[in-house]
Structures are given as structure tokens and as C-alpha cells.
Point group: C2
Chain length 162, copies 2
């Protein structure tokens, strides 16, 4: 499989997870959190699928397409671990979907970041809320859900808050 094949497969897997998560929260009111804006494609997809939801974005440094930059009052700029406590104070536990797209290429550092973020994210995520992550996450408050068909285990992780 070429890198082009592999990249397409990864994007299709990401889209399938986002679509499945969007379907899973139909009966769960609440906001959406996007960790890692990147070029903004995922944000744009969530914005389209979940157009009635408030979507808050966490990003170290915005470098997205101009059409995919969230309004100032929906953007938590800076280090995730610094902005998460602020988000908890401001938003409370009202999140229906959180998407952690935080892998940086340094696998150990990315997994460590996911572990450090998890307790904070769980203060935001409502019961029955969905967590998508590109890093493995384990917490007794989270139930692992099966991935959409055709996605290689370990590529993404889907959880529901008990």
C-alpha cells in the first residue's frame, strides 16, 4: 500500500468516525470540542454535520484555511493543558462530542499528552457523550465502542462516557 493509499484510508477512517459520532449524539444535547484545528478540514466537517451545535476549538497556533477559523469566542488558543481548566470553568460539563486529533508524529509525547488531557476532558464530557481520539485512551468512566466497518483497530479510538 503506497503512502497515498494509506493517507486516503486514514482520512476516510477519520470521516467515518466523525459521522458515526455525530449519529451517536443525536439524543445527547450539548456542545462539541475539537482539539487540534490543523488545516481546519475536520472542523469544517463537524460544522457541516452538527450545524446547530456550539463548536469550540482548542489549538496551540492557528494555521487553518481562512474559511475554517472559528470565531474568537469559540477558540481556546494555546497549550491544551492550560486552556482546559479555563474551558471547564466556562463551559461546565456540557459536551456531547470531543474530538482529539492531537498526534504530532512523536508517538510517546502524543500518548502522554492524551493521558494528561483525559481527566480534564472527562470534566467537560457529559454522560453518554462521545470521545474520538487518534491516541489510545483508557479510563474507567469510558466505554470503548466498536469502530465503523473497515477501520484498522488502533487507527482511531471511539469511546462513550458511561
Amino acid at each position: 500500500m503506497s503512502r497515498l493509499d494509506s493517507f486516503i484510508r486514514r482520512l476516510e477512517a477519520q470521516r467515518a468516525c466523525l459521522n458515526q459520532a455525530a449519529a451517536l449524539i443525536t439524543d445527547v444535547p450539548g456542545n462539541v470540542l475539537e482539539f487540534g484545528l490543523g488545516n481546519g478540514r475536520t472542523y469544517d466537517h463537524l460544522r457541516e454535520k452538527l450545524s446547530r451545535r456550539d463548536i469550540y476549538v482548542f489549538e496551540r497556533k492557528v494555521a487553518a484555511h481562512p474559511d475554517c477559523i472559528p470565531p474568537d469566542d469559540r477558540l481556546f488558543l494555546g497549550d491544551f493543558l492550560e486552556s482546559l481548566p479555563m474551558a471547564i470553568r466556562r463551559l461546565g460539563q456540557d459536551t456531547a462530542l470531543a474530538n482529539l486529533d492531537i498526534g504530532s508524529g512523536d508517538e510517546a509525547a502524543s500518548q502522554q499528552l492524551a493521558r494528561a488531557m483525559t481527566p480534564f476532558v472527562l470534566q467537560l464530557l457529559k454522560p453518554r457523550g462521545i470521545l474520538i481520539s487518534d491516541q489510545p485512551i483508557a479510563d474507567s468512566a469510558l466505554e470503548a465502542l466498536p469502530l465503523p466497518t473497515g477501520i484498522k483497530p488502533g487507527r482511531y479510538f471511539l469511546h462513550r462516557r458511561r
Copy 2:
């Protein structure tokens, strides 16, 4: 359609064009030219599909994944219009497939570059050789071929040298 959808569709279209072109040159011996290395995904795909061919890459400045950087003697580094005459002297008319992935975001400049490159590329491309381009190209030496099924017209351009 979200930017994520649109991006996936563009990559799938690109892959379909590459695969179709690879099939079309089965009976046309010769080398392969890749204009624009980028992250190297397309190069990797061509390398996999056409593993017995010599693949030469033209790139202004290499910024690809380390696994996708061609050997020094297969790389024409610098401005396309400066390296093309060198390539003609070195390779002659022995190209079975040329892939122009040169769009820069500035549509007018990209189209102008494609027009300026065409006469040089035609000195490399053999009769029955295939030209894929992300920019419109018109020349009486080239016959436009239908795109693979499902690709939006204007997204890619496929030509065969008469």
C-alpha cells in the same frame, strides 16, 4: 460537501488518474517524470505501481517524507523551466508518463507555468506517452482522454501524445 469530503474526493481522483495512466502505458516503455514532489505521496504511489520504471522527480525545494525522497541522480532540483532543458539533454524523448502536480493555489500563475512547461514536456514525452496534469493543457500534439469514472471534469486532465 465539507472540506474533508472535498479533500478525500480530490485524493481519490488523483489516485484513479495515476492508476489509469499506469495501465495505459503498459505497452509503452520509457521513464516516468513527476513534476512537484510535495510530501512524496504521489511519488510513492508511482514508485509502487511502476516499480520497474526509472522515475525522475522535478522539485523546487525538497520537503517530502524522508522515505519518499528520490535518489540524487533521479532528482532535478530547482525551477522547472530551468531544469527541463537539462532533462531534455540528458533523457531525450523517452518518457512514457509525465505527472504535472504543479498547482500552487495561485490559479493564474499555475496555468501560466503549465503553458510554459508544455513545449519542454513534449520534447520528453514519447508518442503514446501519457500526460496527467492538475492544470488545463492544450497542444495539437496531445489528445484529451476521458477521466476515470466519477471524477469531476476540470479537476485533473489526462492526455495522450499522438
